[in-house]
Symmetry: C2
Subunit: 415 residues, 2 copies
């Protein structure tokens, strides 16, 4: 099977001059990768006729599929559409469907439909127009000698919509790409190499048409299984069977699949159990509560919490004993246990969780250096505390503590 | 003055396949832009000999300066160094200074210095070696026929170090770039077009060698003044004079300069005044406290706070009156005022601040639709409350509420 090669071409001075971050091309690469299409080059050029035409010609020599974003606004420095017309030697015509859509788009928002807006409906005659329901600049599709050019707006959500709804299905059909089925398994609490070690035997036995990739990020490792074949349903069930085989070995690190986040997974577990949670955060300063409350519907299980940054409030608000603080200090097993138990009671929650640590850069001592963090979980029956020895970096320590305490909650709920 | 043109060339399969986000090239563009050097193209190719050599040749036809990142590891799929040797027809030799540095780098970290690591010291003979104090892959600099190629590692902090310490000073000298002086002015609480309107007269009178750019982001607008000339000190004082002229018009929106964040600016104001702060967050769920405590040294002025997600705790913890909640509801001016006043007292702080709102997507009503948010500031002498009517998007509402309440604190401290 001959692999289709692609080039991603981004047009716009604002990318060249570093005024905006290009996140589009990474997303497009991933989507193409999932179809088994290999990106061989990414190119960015400015709003300049000659540079755009040269980039078109170069891309056509290298790739069977050229995906172009940007340069589609209605103003004079937006050159993509006229350059495509020139490159494919096709006259520019008005597309009535696009004009109607653009008029409707402006009028339904109570904005005036101007002569300038009308220009968005001017497209090369040879192009197949791809409907952009989320914006005014249409996508366009060009075929010549077995090769395909596609032009899309650079606005990320419009580009993604066009890719998913229009471009990828057409690409699949045109290039007869094999069926590719992906599954993401999300793990926490284990490093990449340790995880690889644990599942080595399972990984070694994966069939040739199913590949495994490790995608690590701070505190997390994602596993991606990619199956290639011609029957999606069959691939899905093969992948599920493989996951079922691996779960007895790595299940305790798995918190979800696909785009699920750790805080969503915990929210889901709490909802299913009909339980509530409260937080007492010292070194994480409210970050764990922020994560939990970012999820829509979290008020069903999140009762509230405190950030007792100073010791007085650890005693006053959630009943940590003066003797405990005096004997062991704020960053100690004893204190963090009382914090978790105390916040649970105070907020009448089923579960209490707590963090106390030295995020740095100041505040460390020989006995308790920067990066020393205690986390705890309490549910009325048991209290579990855990010590972390993290880094010298304040922001990283806050991030890792947040993930660790949520993971402690997850593991405790699970067992 | 002939403008120097540059190309940024990124080498690595992991970028092509979308496994990592390329943030390097945006940063490099900005740095070059500050020197008055224009990037005319960005290119990414994979770990493939032919593609790399072609990209070198193409870049040389277009640009006087070619900045290359990536492909410098010691393994066999790292091809940048051998391809540069081939392209410039220069034999590869061992650079003793690099080998000594790499040995020291590993040994001082208690790691073994292997044969593989030694390869990092192999560089083309014609290259000027640029010392990478933060890593093991050196930078290299090539001159031929008035053009310059520079190779750097792709690890962002190593690349940035090499750019700042080695590459940019050499580029400045080689291309005789003019002196460019930049100043960033950070504003909050006013939209881009309103700000532009306010300072129009001042902007119209800017001298030709000083340019103004508007850089908007969520809730904030940065203004960048760029002065071009030959005397840095003179430019700096001209820019300062212009800022001083603008401050009477826009001063109340300005919270800082350069990289200062809003939470840092507030921390600095509190430190200077010897004052402390406490937070009661409902709809922001701990996010404001997280922002404040991300700053090193914040324990000097942040006392702590609460997230009374459920109404019971608004009464119980910070003394919001039952009658107030019953008469006006949680999302109301009366409640948010009592929250700010109550948390101030509870945490013995000089300043209390509070948020209460409907972040969405659920919980809205006709009277109080999703996006209705109340924020408040209290300092014992006065309490100020403000209503915000935000969006349908939960995350955006949380972000905007956080910025707005911090800005309310900033403005109140300022007056």
């Amino acid at each position: 099977m001959n692999k289709t090669l692609a080039e991603i071409l981004t047009i716009g001075d604002e990318i060249l001059y570093g005024q905006i971050t290009d996140t589009n091309s990474q997303w497009m690469s991933q989507e193409l990768d999932e179809l088994g299409i290999r990106v061989v080059r990414k190119t960015t050029v400015g709003d300049n006729e000659e540079d755009i035409l040269t980039a078109f010609a170069e891309a056509e020599t290298r790739a069977g599929l050229v995906l172009i974003t940007g340069g589609l606004g209605p103003t004079n420095d937006d050159l993509t559409m006229p350059m495509l017309a020139k490159y494919f030697d096709s006259e520019i015509i008005k597309n009535q469907a696009v004009e109607d859509h653009v008029r409707e788009f402006f009028e339904s928002r109570g904005r005036e439909f101007t002569e300038m807006n009308k220009r968005q409906a001017l497209v090369p005659k040879m192009a197949t127009v791809l409907h952009n329901a989320l914006g005014t600049a249409p996508g366009t599709w060009y075929e010549r000698a077995g090769k395909v050019f596609v032009s899309m707006p650079g606005v990320p959500h419009e580009m993604k919509y066009l890719m998913k709804e229009e471009v990828l299905p057409k690409v699949r059909e045109f290039f007869h790409t094999p069926v590719i089925y992906h599954r993401l398994i999300k793990t926490v609490g284990i490093g990449e190499s340790f995880l690889a070690d644990k599942i080595k035997e399972w990984e070694d036995k994966l069939p040739a048409h199913i590949k495994l990739a490790y995608l690590p990020s701070i505190g997390h490792v994602k596993l991606r299984l990619t199956a290639t074949g011609d029957d999606r349903k069959k691939l899905a069930s093969e992948v599920q069977e493989l996951i079922d085989q691996a779960l007895p070995i790595m299940g305790k690190y798995v918190y979800g699949y696909g785009n699920t986040t750790l805080e969503e997974a915990i929210g889901q577990m709490l909802l299913e159990r009909g339980q509530t949670i409260a937080l007492a955060e010292s070194c994480t300063g409210g970050y764990v509560q922020h994560k939990l409350t970012s999820i829509a519907g979290s008020s069903a299980y999140f009762q509230g919490g405190v950030v007792p940054y100073h010791n007085d409030f650890k005693m006053d608000l959630i009943g940590v004993k003066t003797e405990t603080l005096e004997a062991h200090g704020a960053v100690s097993e004893e204190t963090v246990r009382e914090m978790a138990e105390g916040v649970r009671k105070k907020f009448k929650a089923d579960i209490g969780a707590a963090t106390s640590g030295i995020a740095g850069p100041g505040g460390g001592s020989e006995e308790k250096p920067v990066g020393t963090v205690w986390i705890a979980y309490a549910d009325g029956e048991q209290t579990i505390a855990k010590k972390l020895q993290l880094t010298q970096n304040r922001k990283l320590n806050i991030e890792l503590s947040q993930i660790s305490v949520l993971n402690l909650v997850r593991k405790s709920l699970r067992s």
